[in-house]
Symmetry: C2
Subunit: 291 residues, 2 copies
């Protein structure tokens, strides 16, 4: 009998995982969605062998349960359903800010149930089952969160979830669970807020729409991600607020520095040096992504 | 006899204009580059019928002279070569910050020479003749700068340069010259600095390279443009410093607001509202770009 993965939430990440599991592995896949039409779409697609709007149904019939709702809803739902988990079962989640969900799990996970969190660094500003694809994870980073001091954490499960990412064509990286949210504040959550800021400053206000007619690929790319789901991002950002606040303070320091460099009496040498540093960092990122 | 366009600088914009003029119009095209190997590459490509490292040569044989170097170098070169321009000739430039070049032109342009500035909103973080393409301007915005109170400005030349943009497949928009740099600070120069800031904060410091291994498409897109040429951007940003400083101050206001919203005792309603506003602005931009 094959192992059954139950996916809680068939949005962009959950639905794409269902499709990738179906296409690239031997797991049986079942899924929960709040709305019957999403269940119907997933069944029609064939990426799940069964779908339900009753989460109990899905958890009770799964070996591995993937929480793929926004972080606060994952946490709330785990608390409500923890009693359904039996020894040997596996809990995981795919969200971008871990703190609240992890707390909910550690508070209520029954003995013998194992928990290893993952974070597939794949996404889009457009969500929903209609945007899902089995190729979402290819050439992306698949973070597996290590927390070896916890009894419910399991090396074997971490290995199984790593293999899942590899089967999807992703690069697997292990990160300590405790450090994950700080890192993500830096390379994902703060960039999201800066995209929103550039959109508001560049394209807001009375003549914002006219100004945006003059904008080009730079504005397009800097602001792209702020078209993402505001409700999901509220949960991510508030769930990681201390680290996000620290990063925003660092942004303020850098903006103050740039203002000095713009008016410095040095023929722009300091500003050019700053731009060179930023370019060197970005060029390093390009090299990392090619690997 | 056909009209000859002399392009001063065969980098991404100048070289792409040469190729587009050659492909889509009847103009004869000649070009100046500082380095002989760039002249040779342009001649080999066939986009210019003649190329020279002697700028006098090119100006003396042109009807329309396109300054396509970074803004300060354009300004300096115009001042040095203004005496070469004869009545009936046309001066234009394609740079992203107009103030310094425009001042140099208005200070020294000989009587009877006409000047209409343009700004093709096309570019890339990768420059140089090797990146040029005749398709660079297709579906992009081609700004024609109006300054009708100036004697050297010409409606007829503005029309000719507009038609050039249309021939290249661009959307033409007219903007008052006086207002151009303020608009660009908002939708191009400030976004460039925020891309640099996100790169430095997200990917700088001791473990920056490790953190960037965890980054994904969001970080990639927000930071893309800061890989552009630091020396060119120094000239653009310093050439438009007052307006850029105003935009950075506006960024500071927004960041302070976001910090308040992250910790507000409102269950994230204010933060979600902010993210909704940013998303609505970005969605409007997407609609504008499709038109």
């Amino acid at each position: 009998m094959s192992t059954t993965v139950g996916i809680i939430g068939l949005g962009l990440l959950g639905g794409s995982m269902a499709k990738a599991l179906r296409a690239f592995t031997d797991y049986e896949v079942i899924g929960y969605a709040r709305r019957q039409e999403v269940c119907d779409a997933a069944l029609l697609d064939g990426c799940v062998s069964s779908a339900s709007t009753d989460v109990t149904d899905i958890i009770e019939n799964s070996h591995i349960v993937v929480f793929a709702l926004p972080p606060d809803r994952n946490a709330k739902l785990f608390t409500e359903t923890a009693h359904l988990f039996r020894p040997g079962m596996v809990v995981t989640d795919v969200s971008s800010a871990k703190r609240n969900f992890v707390k909910a799990v550690y508070d209520a996970i029954p003995e013998g149930v194992r928990f290893v969190s993952i974070h597939p660094m794949a996404g889009s500003e457009r969500g929903g089952f209609e945007m899902t694809t089995k190729e979402l994870f290819r050439h992306t980073t698949w973070i597996v969160l290590d927390d070896p001091s916890k009894a419910c954490w399991s090396e074997q499960v971490a290995q199984e979830l790593s293999n899942m990412g590899r089967a999807f064509g992703a690069r697997v990286i292990h990160v300590l669970l405790d450090e994950h949210d700080d890192y993500l504040a830096s390379v994902s959550h703060m960039p999201h807020l800066m995209a929103a800021t550039v959109a508001v400053v560049g394209g807001g206000g009375e003549d914002g729409t006219f100004r945006m007619q003059l904008a080009a690929g730079g504005f397009r790319d800097v602001t792209r991600i702020c078209a993402g789901n505001p409700s999901m991002w509220r949960e991510i950002l508030r769930g990681n607020r201390e680290a996000v606040l620290r990063e925003l303070t660092e942004v303020e320091t850098q903006v103050a520095r740039l203002k000095e460099l713009l008016v410095a009496d040095d023929e722009g040498r300091g500003l050019e040096e700053y731009l060179r540093k930023a370019k060197a960092i970005r060029d390093t990122f390009t090299e990392l992504m090619v690997k």
